[in-house]
């Protein structure tokens, strides 16, 4: 059974991948997701971004639950 995750991209990252929303097969962990994305979107090679799973900031080895909303977050620049 394929697991789908819902990606949301923001700011400079949305610009680099050309879309703000994307569905992907679940690669398992955030680290694996980062590799998948950098392979598919070469513009991301030099880009800095973090992840949130279901709106919580998480690091690379975090597992991605089925159906999760995963956000790609460039450095915050509010205010």
């Amino acid at each position: 059974m394929k697991q789908v995750i819902h990606l949301k991209a923001f700011g400079m990252i949305a610009e680099k991948i050309g879309t703000a929303e994307l569905e992907l097969e679940n690669p398992g962990t955030l680290a694996a997701l980062g590799e998948t994305l950098r392979g598919r979107f070469p513009d991301l090679q030099s880009a800095k971004f973090g992840f949130a799973i279901n709106k919580k900031l998480l690091q690379g080895d975090a597992e991605i639950p089925a159906g999760a909303e995963v956000a790609l977050l460039p450095p915050f620049s509010g205010g």
Binding site: K8, F10, G11, K55, P74, F76, G79
Partner: protein, 148 residues
């Protein structure tokens, strides 16, 4: 019994108007245990970049996450300082140079708590809220704002 607080919207479309600020200040005249208000306002600067001069900032946010985070910050600041009131407003969309994009407002019986809480709120908002500013240049291009 403590009042139970729930997340509230902090986002406003476009610039924050001085009149909205006046209204917010006036709303506190009935709270007669307040002795001091501290306010921070962020204003869009006409920075010169190598690519051109900034004429506006276009703000976007991961809104649901930002509101959850803002609520968490609010609660932490309320727990740390003896505040009467706290208000946070951040712009979304385009804010032109010279216009206001952030309005942080704390009130307390004594000035020190209001001031310290306001300073800490501003730092946390800038560091922790998933909000992004796209700096629109007079050359038609843009650069992404970087917080220092």
């Amino acid at each position: 019994m403590d009042k139970v607080r729930t997340p509230k919207n902090i986002f406003v479309q476009g610039a924050i108007s001085p009149d909205a600020i006046a209204k917010s200040i006036a709303n506190h005249s009935g709270k007669t245990d307040i002795g001091g208000h501290s306010i921070f306002l962020g204003q869009v600067r006409a920075d010169e970049k190598p690519e051109g001069k900034v004429v506006a900032i276009d703000y976007t946010a991961y809104e649901e996450m930002a509101l959850e985070k803002a609520f968490e910050i609010r609660e932490a600041i309320f727990a740390k300082y003896p505040l009467t009131c706290m208000h946070i407003y951040h712009s979304l969309g385009e804010v032109k140079v010279g216009e206001l994009c952030l309005f942080v407002f704390t009130s307390s019986k004594h000035r020190k708590a209001a001031m310290d809480a306001c300073d800490e709120l501003v730092e946390r908002i800038k560091a922790e809220l998933p909000v992004w500013g796209k700096e629109i240049l007079d050359t038609e291009g843009h650069v992404w704002k970087v917080n220092v």
